[in-house]
Amino acid sequence: MIVTESWYLIVSALLFAIGATGLLVRRNPLVMFMCVELMLNAVNISFVAFSTALQDLAGQTAVFFVLVVAAAEVVVGLSIVVAVMRRRPSATVDDLAELKG
């Protein structure tokens, strides 16, 4: 059997669905961030799969930018979590409904 692009896309779809489910189920803000990373990785897999299938470099360039944006997002997101957790050490996302410190 030959591994075609559809297989990579199926793995990507599964990974995205798992990440989305985790984002909806978990309440720890850190774990929710991890689920967002999973979804970004799912998109990266499909970008590379399309890049290989279409013999087009633009897909790989897009993955590069997704990596940079993901890094920036994690930095800012985690510093917000740190700022919140300092005041309320046991906060779940339900307690963060209002953005007052």
Binding site: V11, A17, I18, T21, N41, Q60, A83
Partner: protein, 196 residues
Amino acid sequence: MMELIVFVISAAIVLGGALGVILFRNPVHAALSLIASFFGVAVLFVSQEAHFLALVQVVVYGGAIVVLFLFVIMLLGVDREEDITEEPFEGQRVSALVSGVLIFAMLMAGIFLSGRTGDDAGDFGPAAISGSSGQVVPLTEEQDVVQLGHDLFTRNILAFEATGLLLTIATVGAVVLVRNRGAEDLVVDEPGTSSR
């Protein structure tokens, strides 16, 4: 055959790691499971000839991002176990599962009903893009890092510089956010006032 074996193993690692992230109660275990998932993704990249992206995946995701997660988890001491059987509102687990299945079904419909699959020439093939507007940057036999660098610094130079600015803003933003505003509990070691 070799490609199939590599694909199956790495896909199992990716999906198993992802399931671990959402099922482990302890956030530290979830972060370690996330590393496994990222490494599986890197192997998938290698099997698709994207060697540079696989390297960056390991260094940036496995190295930097997960370590940042672990630092925050351990420094904040939020590594207590979360009771994931307790639902904040009734039916959350079920509705989340239904949403996940629906998202998966939607993506699968997008993949298989797009009209590009099922052709004789494998899946997509160059024929599928023959109608595009000439924006295609063809992959050549050159090393992928050479091609990627060339594309990044010619065609995408503006986006590249914008991401540089974005990273600077993110760094400054992180410093501003975690800065201790109340200076009363911050021991400032000013020169001259020190007893030493």
